[in-house]
Protein backbone atom coordinates (compact mmCIF):
# COMPACT_ATOMS: atom_id res chain seq x y z
CA UNK A 1 0.00 0.00 0.00
CA UNK A 2 1.52 3.23 -1.05
CA UNK A 3 0.91 6.56 0.55
CA UNK A 4 1.52 8.51 -2.59
CA UNK A 5 -0.55 9.50 -5.59
CA UNK A 6 -4.13 9.60 -4.40
CA UNK A 7 -4.96 11.74 -7.43
CA UNK A 8 -3.63 9.10 -9.80
CA UNK A 9 -5.62 6.38 -8.07
CA UNK A 10 -8.88 8.32 -8.15
CA UNK A 11 -8.27 9.31 -11.77
CA UNK A 12 -7.80 5.66 -12.70
CA UNK A 13 -10.99 4.58 -10.95
CA UNK A 14 -13.05 7.38 -12.44
CA UNK A 15 -11.53 6.46 -15.79
CA UNK A 16 -12.67 2.86 -15.43
CA UNK A 17 -16.17 4.00 -14.51
CA UNK A 18 -16.27 6.37 -17.47
CA UNK A 19 -15.07 3.61 -19.77
CA UNK A 20 -17.83 1.31 -18.56
CA UNK A 21 -20.31 4.13 -19.11
CA UNK A 22 -19.11 4.73 -22.66
CA UNK A 23 -19.11 1.00 -23.39
CA UNK A 24 -22.84 0.98 -22.74
CA UNK A 25 -23.30 2.82 -26.04
CA UNK A 26 -20.76 0.83 -28.02
CA UNK A 27 -21.23 -2.80 -27.05
CA UNK A 28 -23.38 -5.16 -29.09
CA UNK A 29 -26.57 -6.24 -27.30
CA UNK A 30 -25.24 -9.51 -26.00
CA UNK A 31 -22.07 -8.15 -24.45
CA UNK A 32 -24.02 -5.19 -23.13
CA UNK A 33 -26.29 -7.55 -21.21
CA UNK A 34 -23.42 -9.76 -20.13
CA UNK A 35 -21.41 -6.84 -18.82
CA UNK A 36 -24.37 -5.68 -16.72
CA UNK A 37 -24.39 -9.09 -15.09
CA UNK A 38 -20.63 -9.09 -14.67
CA UNK A 39 -20.71 -5.71 -12.94
CA UNK A 40 -23.29 -6.97 -10.45
CA UNK A 41 -21.22 -10.07 -9.75
CA UNK A 42 -18.03 -8.01 -9.59
CA UNK A 43 -19.67 -6.22 -6.66
CA UNK A 44 -19.98 -9.64 -5.03
CA UNK A 45 -16.27 -10.19 -5.69
CA UNK A 46 -15.42 -6.75 -4.27
CA UNK A 47 -17.30 -7.62 -1.11
CA UNK A 48 -15.32 -10.82 -0.89
CA UNK A 49 -12.07 -8.99 -1.53
CA UNK A 50 -12.83 -6.62 1.33
CA UNK A 51 -12.48 -9.48 3.78
CA UNK A 52 -10.11 -11.82 2.00
CA UNK A 53 -7.82 -9.31 0.32
CA UNK A 54 -7.56 -6.64 2.98
CA UNK A 55 -8.10 -8.54 6.23
CA UNK A 56 -6.69 -11.85 5.06
CA UNK A 57 -9.70 -13.87 6.20
CA UNK A 58 -10.39 -16.69 3.76
CA UNK A 59 -14.09 -17.49 3.89
CA UNK A 60 -15.80 -20.27 1.99
CA UNK A 61 -19.24 -19.10 3.01
CA UNK A 62 -19.81 -15.88 1.15
CA UNK A 63 -22.58 -17.41 -0.94
CA UNK A 64 -24.67 -17.02 2.21
CA UNK A 65 -24.20 -13.24 2.21
CA UNK A 66 -25.01 -13.01 -1.48
CA UNK A 67 -28.04 -15.23 -0.93
CA UNK A 68 -29.12 -13.16 2.07
CA UNK A 69 -29.38 -10.15 -0.22
CA UNK A 70 -30.90 -12.19 -3.03
CA UNK A 71 -33.61 -13.70 -0.85
CA UNK A 72 -34.06 -10.62 1.32
CA UNK A 73 -34.89 -8.52 -1.73
CA UNK A 74 -36.61 -11.26 -3.71
CA UNK A 75 -38.91 -12.43 -0.93
CA UNK A 76 -39.76 -8.84 0.00
CA UNK A 77 -41.11 -8.35 -3.51
CA UNK A 78 -42.67 -11.76 -4.04
CA UNK A 79 -44.16 -12.49 -0.63
CA UNK A 80 -44.67 -8.98 0.75
CA UNK A 81 -45.18 -6.95 -2.40
CA UNK A 82 -42.62 -4.32 -1.43
CA UNK A 83 -41.35 -1.71 -3.86
CA UNK A 84 -37.92 -2.02 -5.43
CA UNK A 85 -36.05 0.42 -3.14
CA UNK A 86 -37.66 -1.09 -0.02
CA UNK A 87 -36.81 -4.58 -1.23
CA UNK A 88 -33.21 -3.57 -1.90
CA UNK A 89 -33.02 -2.17 1.62
CA UNK A 90 -34.49 -5.42 2.94
CA UNK A 91 -31.74 -7.30 1.11
CA UNK A 92 -29.10 -5.11 2.71
CA UNK A 93 -30.77 -5.56 6.09
CA UNK A 94 -30.63 -9.32 5.76
CA UNK A 95 -26.99 -9.02 4.79
CA UNK A 96 -26.26 -7.04 7.95
CA UNK A 97 -28.05 -9.48 10.24
CA UNK A 98 -26.54 -12.61 8.70
CA UNK A 99 -23.02 -11.24 8.54
CA UNK A 100 -23.20 -9.89 12.08
CA UNK A 101 -24.30 -13.23 13.52
CA UNK A 102 -21.85 -15.24 11.43
CA UNK A 103 -19.06 -12.79 12.21
CA UNK A 104 -19.65 -13.00 15.95
CA UNK A 105 -19.41 -16.80 15.83
CA UNK A 106 -16.88 -17.46 13.10
CA UNK A 107 -14.37 -14.82 14.20
CA UNK A 108 -13.69 -16.88 17.28
CA UNK A 109 -11.64 -18.97 14.88
CA UNK A 110 -8.79 -18.10 12.55
CA UNK A 111 -7.08 -19.50 9.48
CA UNK A 112 -8.37 -22.77 8.08
CA UNK A 113 -10.84 -23.19 10.91
CA UNK A 114 -12.43 -19.89 9.86
CA UNK A 115 -12.62 -21.17 6.31
CA UNK A 116 -14.35 -24.39 7.35
CA UNK A 117 -16.69 -22.76 9.86
CA UNK A 118 -17.91 -20.22 7.31
CA UNK A 119 -18.38 -23.02 4.81
CA UNK A 120 -20.48 -24.97 7.29
CA UNK A 121 -22.64 -22.02 8.24
CA UNK A 122 -23.21 -21.39 4.56
CA UNK A 123 -24.22 -25.02 4.16
CA UNK A 124 -26.71 -24.60 6.99
CA UNK A 125 -28.04 -21.47 5.31
CA UNK A 126 -28.38 -23.37 2.04
CA UNK A 127 -30.21 -26.25 3.71
CA UNK A 128 -32.50 -23.79 5.48
CA UNK A 129 -33.51 -22.39 2.11
CA UNK A 130 -34.42 -25.92 1.04
CA UNK A 131 -36.12 -26.68 4.34
CA UNK A 132 -38.37 -23.64 4.09
CA UNK A 133 -39.24 -24.38 0.49
CA UNK A 134 -42.82 -23.27 1.06
CA UNK A 135 -41.61 -19.69 1.23
CA UNK A 136 -38.35 -19.82 -0.69
CA UNK A 137 -39.34 -22.05 -3.57
CA UNK A 138 -36.60 -24.48 -2.53
CA UNK A 139 -34.15 -25.55 -5.17
CA UNK A 140 -36.35 -24.43 -8.05
CA UNK A 141 -36.34 -20.92 -6.76
CA UNK A 142 -38.79 -18.23 -7.72
CA UNK A 143 -39.33 -15.65 -10.36
CA UNK A 144 -39.57 -12.02 -9.29
CA UNK A 145 -42.55 -10.92 -11.39
CA UNK A 146 -41.66 -8.56 -14.21
CA UNK A 147 -44.34 -5.95 -13.37
CA UNK A 148 -42.87 -5.60 -9.87
CA UNK A 149 -39.39 -4.83 -11.13
CA UNK A 150 -40.04 -1.14 -11.71
CA UNK A 151 -38.21 1.67 -9.98
CA UNK A 152 -40.55 4.58 -9.35
CA UNK A 153 -38.83 7.91 -8.96
CA UNK A 154 -41.54 10.47 -8.44
CA UNK A 155 -43.38 10.85 -11.71
CA UNK A 156 -41.04 8.75 -13.82
CA UNK A 157 -40.76 5.04 -13.50
CA UNK A 158 -37.83 3.01 -14.75
CA UNK A 159 -38.28 -0.57 -15.82
CA UNK A 160 -35.39 -2.60 -14.51
CA UNK A 161 -35.99 -5.07 -17.30
CA UNK A 162 -35.00 -2.48 -19.88
CA UNK A 163 -31.41 -3.26 -20.94
CA UNK A 164 -30.18 0.33 -20.67
CA UNK A 165 -31.78 0.93 -17.30
CA UNK A 166 -30.40 -2.35 -16.09
CA UNK A 167 -26.90 -1.59 -17.33
CA UNK A 168 -26.92 1.86 -15.77
CA UNK A 169 -28.29 0.57 -12.48
CA UNK A 170 -25.61 -2.10 -12.38
CA UNK A 171 -22.98 0.49 -13.26
CA UNK A 172 -24.30 2.81 -10.54
CA UNK A 173 -24.07 0.11 -7.89
CA UNK A 174 -20.68 -0.97 -9.14
CA UNK A 175 -19.33 2.60 -9.12
CA UNK A 176 -20.58 3.32 -5.63
CA UNK A 177 -19.09 0.14 -4.24
CA UNK A 178 -15.82 0.67 -6.12
CA UNK A 179 -15.38 4.21 -4.80
CA UNK A 180 -16.44 3.23 -1.30
CA UNK A 181 -13.93 0.39 -1.37
CA UNK A 182 -11.21 2.74 -2.54
CA UNK A 183 -12.07 5.22 0.19
CA UNK A 184 -12.09 2.50 2.87
CA UNK A 185 -8.81 1.07 1.69
CA UNK A 186 -7.16 4.45 1.78
CA UNK A 187 -8.65 5.39 5.13
CA UNK A 188 -7.21 4.87 8.60
CA UNK A 189 -9.59 1.97 8.99
CA UNK A 190 -8.21 0.38 5.84
CA UNK A 191 -4.73 0.71 7.28
CA UNK A 192 -5.85 -1.11 10.42
CA UNK A 193 -7.36 -3.93 8.36
CA UNK A 194 -4.15 -4.43 6.44
CA UNK A 195 -2.23 -4.35 9.71
CA UNK A 196 -4.47 -7.12 11.05
CA UNK A 197 -3.81 -9.15 7.93
CA UNK A 198 -0.07 -8.68 8.26
CA UNK A 199 0.21 -9.30 11.99
CA UNK A 200 -2.83 -9.45 14.18
CA UNK A 201 -0.99 -9.87 17.49
CA UNK A 202 1.11 -6.78 16.85
CA UNK A 203 -1.95 -4.76 15.92
CA UNK A 204 -3.61 -5.64 19.21
CA UNK A 205 -0.55 -4.36 21.02
CA UNK A 206 -0.81 -1.08 19.15
CA UNK A 207 -4.14 -0.47 20.85
CA UNK A 208 -6.56 -1.85 18.30
CA UNK A 209 -9.53 -3.99 19.14
CA UNK A 210 -8.86 -6.40 16.33
CA UNK A 211 -12.02 -8.43 16.96
CA UNK A 212 -14.31 -5.44 16.50
CA UNK A 213 -12.37 -4.28 13.49
CA UNK A 214 -12.62 -7.71 11.92
CA UNK A 215 -16.29 -7.91 12.79
CA UNK A 216 -16.85 -4.57 11.10
CA UNK A 217 -15.00 -5.87 8.05
CA UNK A 218 -17.18 -9.00 7.95
CA UNK A 219 -20.29 -6.84 8.11
CA UNK A 220 -19.06 -4.41 5.44
CA UNK A 221 -18.15 -7.37 3.27
CA UNK A 222 -21.55 -8.93 4.02
CA UNK A 223 -23.41 -5.74 3.09
CA UNK A 224 -21.55 -5.40 -0.20
CA UNK A 225 -22.21 -9.04 -1.11
CA UNK A 226 -25.84 -8.68 -0.07
CA UNK A 227 -26.12 -5.55 -2.23
CA UNK A 228 -24.90 -7.61 -5.14
CA UNK A 229 -27.40 -10.36 -4.36
CA UNK A 230 -30.28 -7.93 -3.93
CA UNK A 231 -29.39 -6.23 -7.21
CA UNK A 232 -29.22 -9.61 -8.91
CA UNK A 233 -32.72 -10.54 -7.72
CA UNK A 234 -34.21 -7.22 -8.81
CA UNK A 235 -32.33 -6.78 -12.08
CA UNK A 236 -32.45 -10.34 -13.33
CA UNK A 237 -35.65 -11.50 -11.71
CA UNK A 238 -34.70 -14.86 -10.25
CA UNK A 239 -33.93 -16.12 -6.76
CA UNK A 240 -32.78 -19.68 -6.30
CA UNK A 241 -30.89 -21.88 -3.90
CA UNK A 242 -28.07 -22.60 -6.34
CA UNK A 243 -26.78 -19.12 -5.52
CA UNK A 244 -26.38 -20.23 -1.91
CA UNK A 245 -24.47 -23.40 -2.77
CA UNK A 246 -20.79 -23.81 -2.04
CA UNK A 247 -20.00 -23.22 -5.70
CA UNK A 248 -21.01 -19.60 -5.29
CA UNK A 249 -18.68 -19.32 -2.32
CA UNK A 250 -15.75 -20.59 -4.34
CA UNK A 251 -16.48 -18.37 -7.33
CA UNK A 252 -15.79 -14.98 -5.68
CA UNK A 253 -12.60 -16.41 -4.19
CA UNK A 254 -11.57 -17.48 -7.65
CA UNK A 255 -12.47 -14.13 -9.23
CA UNK A 256 -10.54 -12.23 -6.57
CA UNK A 257 -7.48 -14.45 -6.78
CA UNK A 258 -7.51 -14.17 -10.55
CA UNK A 259 -7.84 -10.41 -10.60
CA UNK A 260 -5.52 -9.85 -7.67
CA UNK A 261 -6.36 -9.96 -4.00
CA UNK A 262 -6.18 -6.63 -2.17
CA UNK A 263 -6.43 -4.63 -5.37
CA UNK A 264 -9.51 -2.47 -5.78
CA UNK A 265 -10.02 -3.25 -9.45
CA UNK A 266 -8.91 -6.87 -9.29
CA UNK A 267 -12.39 -8.26 -8.59
CA UNK A 268 -13.75 -6.68 -11.75
CA UNK A 269 -10.82 -7.93 -13.82
CA UNK A 270 -11.11 -11.45 -12.39
CA UNK A 271 -14.86 -11.67 -12.94
CA UNK A 272 -14.52 -10.34 -16.49
CA UNK A 273 -11.73 -12.77 -17.25
CA UNK A 274 -13.57 -15.81 -15.93
CA UNK A 275 -16.80 -14.90 -17.70
CA UNK A 276 -15.18 -14.30 -21.03
CA UNK A 277 -13.03 -17.40 -20.92
CA UNK A 278 -16.13 -19.51 -20.30
CA UNK A 279 -18.25 -17.64 -22.80
CA UNK A 280 -15.71 -17.84 -25.59
CA UNK A 281 -14.48 -21.38 -25.05
CA UNK A 282 -17.97 -22.81 -24.60
CA UNK A 283 -18.70 -21.60 -28.12
CA UNK A 284 -15.96 -23.79 -29.54
CA UNK A 285 -16.08 -26.96 -27.51
CA UNK A 286 -18.41 -28.67 -25.11
CA UNK A 287 -15.34 -29.58 -23.06
CA UNK A 288 -14.77 -25.93 -22.21
CA UNK A 289 -14.20 -26.61 -18.53
CA UNK A 290 -10.98 -28.32 -19.55
CA UNK A 291 -9.78 -25.12 -21.15
CA UNK A 292 -10.95 -23.07 -18.20
CA UNK A 293 -8.96 -25.34 -15.91
CA UNK A 294 -5.84 -25.09 -18.01
CA UNK A 295 -6.25 -21.32 -18.25
CA UNK A 296 -6.47 -21.07 -14.46
CA UNK A 297 -3.32 -23.08 -13.96
CA UNK A 298 -1.36 -21.15 -16.59
CA UNK A 299 -2.56 -17.88 -15.15
CA UNK A 300 -1.54 -18.77 -11.65
CA UNK A 301 1.84 -20.03 -12.86
CA UNK A 302 2.66 -16.80 -14.61
CA UNK A 303 0.64 -14.35 -12.50
CA UNK A 304 0.83 -15.87 -9.02
CA UNK A 305 -0.58 -12.73 -7.42
CA UNK A 306 -3.46 -12.44 -9.85
CA UNK A 307 -3.57 -10.24 -12.92
CA UNK A 308 -3.60 -6.83 -11.24
CA UNK A 309 -1.59 -8.00 -8.25
CA UNK A 310 1.25 -9.11 -10.48
CA UNK A 311 1.06 -5.95 -12.55
CA UNK A 312 1.30 -3.91 -9.37
CA UNK A 313 4.22 -5.93 -8.14
CA UNK A 314 6.17 -5.64 -11.38
CA UNK A 315 5.27 -2.35 -12.93
CA UNK A 316 2.68 -0.14 -11.28
CA UNK A 317 3.50 0.03 -7.59
CA UNK A 318 1.03 2.82 -6.97
CA UNK A 319 -2.05 0.77 -7.85
CA UNK A 320 -4.44 0.73 -4.89
Amino acid sequence: MSEASPAKAYALHLGVITLLFVLSFLLPDYYHGLLARIMVLAVFAMGYNMLFGYVGLLSLGHAMFFAAGLYGAGLAVIQLGWSVPAAFAAGLGCGVVVSLVIGLLALRTTGVAFMIVTMMFAQVFYLLILYFATWTGGDQGMVVPQPARVLSLGATSLELTNPTVRYMTALGLFSIVLLVTLAIVRSRYGRVLVAIRENEERTKMLGYDTFSNKLAAVVISGIICAASGAAYALLFGYVGSSFASVQYSILPLLWVLLGGAATTLGPLIGTLFMYYVIDITSGYTSAYLLIVGIALILLVLFFPKGILGSIRQRWLGWLP
Partner: protein, 293 residues
Protein backbone atom coordinates in the same frame (compact mmCIF):
# COMPACT_ATOMS: atom_id res chain seq x y z
CA UNK B 1 -39.16 -50.34 13.85
CA UNK B 2 -38.27 -50.33 17.53
CA UNK B 3 -35.75 -47.95 18.93
CA UNK B 4 -32.97 -50.48 19.57
CA UNK B 5 -32.74 -52.02 16.10
CA UNK B 6 -33.23 -48.60 14.56
CA UNK B 7 -30.30 -47.28 16.55
CA UNK B 8 -28.21 -50.27 15.51
CA UNK B 9 -29.00 -49.65 11.88
CA UNK B 10 -28.24 -45.94 12.15
CA UNK B 11 -24.96 -46.72 13.89
CA UNK B 12 -23.95 -49.26 11.24
CA UNK B 13 -24.73 -46.81 8.48
CA UNK B 14 -22.82 -44.12 10.33
CA UNK B 15 -19.82 -46.40 10.66
CA UNK B 16 -19.73 -47.13 6.93
CA UNK B 17 -19.79 -43.41 6.22
CA UNK B 18 -17.08 -42.91 8.83
CA UNK B 19 -14.87 -45.64 7.42
CA UNK B 20 -14.76 -44.12 3.97
CA UNK B 21 -14.59 -40.60 5.28
CA UNK B 22 -11.66 -41.38 7.55
CA UNK B 23 -9.56 -42.66 4.65
CA UNK B 24 -10.45 -39.75 2.38
CA UNK B 25 -9.89 -37.20 5.12
CA UNK B 26 -6.61 -38.77 6.13
CA UNK B 27 -5.35 -38.17 2.61
CA UNK B 28 -6.41 -34.55 2.79
CA UNK B 29 -4.96 -34.19 6.27
CA UNK B 30 -1.53 -35.39 5.14
CA UNK B 31 -1.43 -32.94 2.26
CA UNK B 32 -2.80 -30.19 4.42
CA UNK B 33 -0.60 -30.96 7.40
CA UNK B 34 2.70 -31.63 5.68
CA UNK B 35 2.49 -29.32 2.69
CA UNK B 36 0.05 -26.68 3.97
CA UNK B 37 -1.76 -26.98 0.67
CA UNK B 38 -5.53 -26.64 0.55
CA UNK B 39 -6.19 -29.22 -2.11
CA UNK B 40 -9.55 -28.38 -3.63
CA UNK B 41 -9.06 -31.18 -6.17
CA UNK B 42 -8.96 -33.86 -3.46
CA UNK B 43 -12.58 -34.83 -4.15
CA UNK B 44 -11.74 -35.26 -7.81
CA UNK B 45 -9.03 -37.78 -6.95
CA UNK B 46 -11.74 -39.60 -5.03
CA UNK B 47 -14.02 -39.48 -8.06
CA UNK B 48 -11.20 -40.63 -10.30
CA UNK B 49 -10.67 -43.64 -8.05
CA UNK B 50 -14.31 -44.63 -8.42
CA UNK B 51 -14.40 -44.07 -12.16
CA UNK B 52 -11.22 -46.07 -12.65
CA UNK B 53 -12.64 -48.85 -10.48
CA UNK B 54 -15.56 -49.06 -12.86
CA UNK B 55 -13.28 -49.07 -15.88
CA UNK B 56 -10.99 -51.74 -14.46
CA UNK B 57 -13.73 -54.08 -13.27
CA UNK B 58 -15.50 -53.73 -16.60
CA UNK B 59 -12.32 -54.41 -18.56
CA UNK B 60 -11.35 -57.47 -16.53
CA UNK B 61 -14.75 -59.10 -16.23
CA UNK B 62 -14.98 -62.59 -14.79
CA UNK B 63 -15.86 -62.97 -11.14
CA UNK B 64 -16.62 -59.58 -9.57
CA UNK B 65 -14.05 -60.14 -6.85
CA UNK B 66 -11.28 -60.43 -9.41
CA UNK B 67 -11.98 -57.08 -11.00
CA UNK B 68 -12.56 -55.48 -7.64
CA UNK B 69 -9.23 -56.61 -6.23
CA UNK B 70 -7.47 -55.45 -9.37
CA UNK B 71 -9.20 -52.09 -9.06
CA UNK B 72 -8.20 -51.84 -5.43
CA UNK B 73 -4.56 -52.06 -6.48
CA UNK B 74 -4.45 -50.40 -9.88
CA UNK B 75 -6.83 -47.48 -9.43
CA UNK B 76 -4.92 -45.91 -6.51
CA UNK B 77 -1.65 -46.34 -8.38
CA UNK B 78 -2.96 -44.51 -11.43
CA UNK B 79 -4.47 -41.76 -9.31
CA UNK B 80 -1.24 -41.45 -7.34
CA UNK B 81 0.74 -41.13 -10.55
CA UNK B 82 -1.58 -38.43 -11.82
CA UNK B 83 -1.27 -36.56 -8.54
CA UNK B 84 2.49 -36.84 -8.65
CA UNK B 85 2.58 -35.36 -12.14
CA UNK B 86 0.28 -32.54 -11.08
CA UNK B 87 2.49 -31.83 -8.08
CA UNK B 88 5.66 -31.74 -10.18
CA UNK B 89 4.19 -29.68 -13.01
CA UNK B 90 2.14 -27.19 -11.05
CA UNK B 91 2.29 -27.08 -7.26
CA UNK B 92 6.07 -27.23 -7.01
CA UNK B 93 6.42 -24.39 -9.49
CA UNK B 94 4.07 -22.34 -7.36
CA UNK B 95 6.30 -22.85 -4.35
CA UNK B 96 3.25 -24.19 -2.51
CA UNK B 97 2.02 -20.61 -2.07
CA UNK B 98 -1.29 -21.09 -0.25
CA UNK B 99 -3.37 -18.75 -2.40
CA UNK B 100 -1.91 -19.75 -5.73
CA UNK B 101 -2.40 -23.43 -4.94
CA UNK B 102 -6.09 -22.86 -4.30
CA UNK B 103 -6.51 -21.45 -7.80
CA UNK B 104 -4.34 -24.18 -9.27
CA UNK B 105 -6.25 -26.99 -7.58
CA UNK B 106 -9.55 -25.43 -8.66
CA UNK B 107 -8.08 -25.58 -12.15
CA UNK B 108 -7.24 -29.26 -11.65
CA UNK B 109 -10.78 -29.86 -10.42
CA UNK B 110 -12.21 -28.47 -13.65
CA UNK B 111 -9.78 -30.44 -15.79
CA UNK B 112 -10.32 -33.79 -14.06
CA UNK B 113 -14.07 -33.33 -13.99
CA UNK B 114 -14.26 -32.45 -17.65
CA UNK B 115 -12.02 -35.35 -18.66
CA UNK B 116 -14.21 -37.71 -16.67
CA UNK B 117 -17.30 -36.29 -18.35
CA UNK B 118 -15.78 -36.60 -21.80
CA UNK B 119 -14.32 -40.07 -21.48
CA UNK B 120 -16.55 -41.66 -18.89
CA UNK B 121 -19.81 -39.86 -19.49
CA UNK B 122 -22.47 -38.25 -17.37
CA UNK B 123 -24.17 -41.46 -16.19
CA UNK B 124 -23.85 -43.05 -12.79
CA UNK B 125 -22.39 -46.52 -13.30
CA UNK B 126 -22.40 -49.35 -10.81
CA UNK B 127 -19.58 -51.67 -9.83
CA UNK B 128 -20.49 -55.11 -8.60
CA UNK B 129 -19.36 -55.83 -5.06
CA UNK B 130 -16.75 -58.59 -4.74
CA UNK B 131 -19.32 -60.67 -2.89
CA UNK B 132 -23.03 -60.40 -2.26
CA UNK B 133 -23.93 -61.53 1.18
CA UNK B 134 -27.00 -60.25 2.94
CA UNK B 135 -26.75 -60.54 6.69
CA UNK B 136 -30.19 -61.32 8.01
CA UNK B 137 -30.82 -59.75 11.38
CA UNK B 138 -34.09 -60.34 13.23
CA UNK B 139 -35.29 -56.84 12.37
CA UNK B 140 -33.76 -56.01 9.01
CA UNK B 141 -31.30 -57.22 6.41
CA UNK B 142 -27.88 -55.67 6.06
CA UNK B 143 -25.21 -55.76 3.40
CA UNK B 144 -22.25 -57.97 4.31
CA UNK B 145 -20.11 -55.96 1.95
CA UNK B 146 -20.76 -52.81 3.95
CA UNK B 147 -19.42 -54.46 7.07
CA UNK B 148 -16.32 -55.53 5.18
CA UNK B 149 -15.77 -51.91 4.12
CA UNK B 150 -15.59 -50.95 7.79
CA UNK B 151 -13.06 -53.70 8.40
CA UNK B 152 -10.98 -52.86 5.33
CA UNK B 153 -10.87 -49.22 6.28
CA UNK B 154 -9.79 -50.03 9.83
CA UNK B 155 -7.03 -52.25 8.44
CA UNK B 156 -5.79 -49.57 6.04
CA UNK B 157 -5.87 -46.92 8.73
CA UNK B 158 -3.83 -49.12 11.05
CA UNK B 159 -1.35 -49.74 8.27
CA UNK B 160 -1.04 -46.03 7.59
CA UNK B 161 -0.59 -45.40 11.28
CA UNK B 162 2.22 -47.96 11.42
CA UNK B 163 3.93 -46.40 8.42
CA UNK B 164 3.65 -42.93 9.92
CA UNK B 165 4.91 -43.87 13.38
CA UNK B 166 7.20 -46.84 12.91
CA UNK B 167 9.08 -46.31 9.67
CA UNK B 168 11.69 -43.94 8.38
CA UNK B 169 9.28 -42.66 5.75
CA UNK B 170 6.90 -41.66 8.50
CA UNK B 171 9.66 -39.99 10.45
CA UNK B 172 10.75 -38.01 7.43
CA UNK B 173 7.17 -36.94 6.80
CA UNK B 174 6.66 -35.88 10.37
CA UNK B 175 9.92 -33.96 10.40
CA UNK B 176 8.89 -32.14 7.22
CA UNK B 177 5.49 -31.38 8.67
CA UNK B 178 7.02 -30.01 11.84
CA UNK B 179 9.52 -27.71 10.20
CA UNK B 180 10.35 -28.05 6.53
CA UNK B 181 13.36 -25.72 6.65
CA UNK B 182 15.06 -27.58 9.44
CA UNK B 183 14.23 -30.85 7.73
CA UNK B 184 15.90 -29.56 4.59
CA UNK B 185 18.95 -28.60 6.63
CA UNK B 186 19.14 -32.14 7.97
CA UNK B 187 19.32 -33.47 4.44
CA UNK B 188 15.73 -34.55 4.01
CA UNK B 189 14.73 -34.18 0.35
CA UNK B 190 11.73 -31.99 1.12
CA UNK B 191 10.76 -31.67 -2.54
CA UNK B 192 10.48 -35.43 -2.91
CA UNK B 193 8.64 -35.76 0.38
CA UNK B 194 6.08 -33.23 -0.86
CA UNK B 195 5.64 -35.12 -4.10
CA UNK B 196 5.22 -38.39 -2.22
CA UNK B 197 2.78 -36.93 0.27
CA UNK B 198 0.63 -35.41 -2.44
CA UNK B 199 0.51 -38.71 -4.29
CA UNK B 200 -0.19 -40.65 -1.10
CA UNK B 201 -3.00 -38.30 -0.17
CA UNK B 202 -4.61 -38.80 -3.56
CA UNK B 203 -4.14 -42.56 -3.31
CA UNK B 204 -5.91 -42.72 0.03
CA UNK B 205 -8.85 -40.88 -1.52
CA UNK B 206 -8.82 -43.28 -4.45
CA UNK B 207 -8.76 -46.34 -2.17
CA UNK B 208 -11.70 -44.97 -0.22
CA UNK B 209 -13.56 -44.47 -3.48
CA UNK B 210 -12.87 -48.01 -4.69
CA UNK B 211 -14.23 -49.33 -1.41
CA UNK B 212 -17.42 -47.28 -1.61
CA UNK B 213 -18.14 -47.63 -5.30
CA UNK B 214 -19.89 -51.03 -5.03
CA UNK B 215 -22.26 -49.32 -2.60
CA UNK B 216 -22.74 -45.99 -4.35
CA UNK B 217 -22.01 -45.67 -8.04
CA UNK B 218 -19.30 -43.85 -9.89
CA UNK B 219 -20.39 -40.47 -11.19
CA UNK B 220 -18.34 -37.58 -12.47
CA UNK B 221 -19.74 -35.12 -9.93
CA UNK B 222 -19.35 -37.40 -6.90
CA UNK B 223 -16.27 -35.62 -5.58
CA UNK B 224 -17.80 -32.58 -3.96
CA UNK B 225 -19.36 -34.03 -0.84
CA UNK B 226 -16.34 -36.09 0.20
CA UNK B 227 -14.22 -32.96 -0.26
CA UNK B 228 -16.36 -30.79 1.98
CA UNK B 229 -16.79 -33.50 4.60
CA UNK B 230 -13.07 -34.25 4.58
CA UNK B 231 -12.24 -30.62 5.20
CA UNK B 232 -14.58 -30.65 8.15
CA UNK B 233 -13.09 -33.87 9.52
CA UNK B 234 -9.54 -32.61 9.14
CA UNK B 235 -10.22 -29.40 10.98
CA UNK B 236 -12.35 -30.96 13.70
CA UNK B 237 -9.80 -33.68 14.23
CA UNK B 238 -6.94 -31.24 14.46
CA UNK B 239 -4.36 -30.70 11.73
CA UNK B 240 -2.01 -33.58 11.12
CA UNK B 241 -3.44 -35.78 13.86
CA UNK B 242 -4.26 -39.26 12.61
CA UNK B 243 -6.07 -40.19 15.79
CA UNK B 244 -8.05 -36.94 15.61
CA UNK B 245 -8.97 -37.52 11.99
CA UNK B 246 -10.32 -40.99 12.72
CA UNK B 247 -12.24 -39.89 15.79
CA UNK B 248 -13.69 -36.91 13.95
CA UNK B 249 -14.71 -39.10 11.02
CA UNK B 250 -16.47 -41.55 13.36
CA UNK B 251 -18.09 -38.67 15.22
CA UNK B 252 -19.39 -37.05 12.05
CA UNK B 253 -20.47 -40.31 10.47
CA UNK B 254 -22.29 -41.49 13.57
CA UNK B 255 -23.92 -38.17 14.35
CA UNK B 256 -25.13 -37.99 10.76
CA UNK B 257 -26.62 -41.45 11.09
CA UNK B 258 -28.10 -41.09 14.54
CA UNK B 259 -29.45 -37.54 14.30
CA UNK B 260 -31.36 -38.66 11.22
CA UNK B 261 -33.37 -41.00 13.49
CA UNK B 262 -35.01 -38.13 15.27
CA UNK B 263 -35.62 -35.44 12.69
CA UNK B 264 -36.77 -35.14 9.14
CA UNK B 265 -33.74 -35.72 6.92
CA UNK B 266 -33.04 -32.15 5.84
CA UNK B 267 -33.57 -30.84 9.35
CA UNK B 268 -31.24 -33.57 10.61
CA UNK B 269 -28.57 -32.40 8.19
CA UNK B 270 -29.05 -28.82 9.34
CA UNK B 271 -28.72 -29.78 13.00
CA UNK B 272 -25.72 -32.04 12.42
CA UNK B 273 -23.89 -29.38 10.41
CA UNK B 274 -24.70 -26.70 12.95
CA UNK B 275 -23.52 -28.89 15.83
CA UNK B 276 -20.18 -29.60 14.19
CA UNK B 277 -19.75 -25.93 13.30
CA UNK B 278 -20.38 -24.99 16.92
CA UNK B 279 -17.80 -27.48 18.12
CA UNK B 280 -15.32 -25.71 15.89
CA UNK B 281 -16.41 -22.25 17.01
CA UNK B 282 -15.89 -23.06 20.65
CA UNK B 283 -12.90 -25.30 20.16
CA UNK B 284 -11.12 -23.81 17.14
CA UNK B 285 -8.00 -25.95 17.52
CA UNK B 286 -10.06 -29.07 16.89
CA UNK B 287 -10.66 -31.94 19.25
CA UNK B 288 -7.10 -33.16 19.43
CA UNK B 289 -5.11 -30.16 18.32
CA UNK B 290 -3.20 -28.37 21.03
CA UNK B 291 -2.66 -24.77 20.11
CA UNK B 292 -3.06 -23.48 16.58
CA UNK B 293 0.30 -22.90 15.00
Amino acid sequence: MHFGPHLLLAALEGLVTSAVLALTALGLSLVFGVMRVVNVAHGEFFMLGAVLAWAITTAIGGHPALGFLAALVIAPLIVGAIALVAERLVLRRLNYNPEATIVATIGMLYIIQQLALTFYGPEARPVEPPFNYRILLPWFGYSGYKLSVIAASALLLTATWLVLTRTRIGLVMRATQYDSETAQAFGIPVGRVYGGVFALGAMLAAIAAVLIVPISQAHYLMGQDPLLLSFIVVIIGGLGSLRGTVVAAVLIGLSDGIISMFFSPTLAKIIATLLVAMVLVFRPQGLFGTTPR
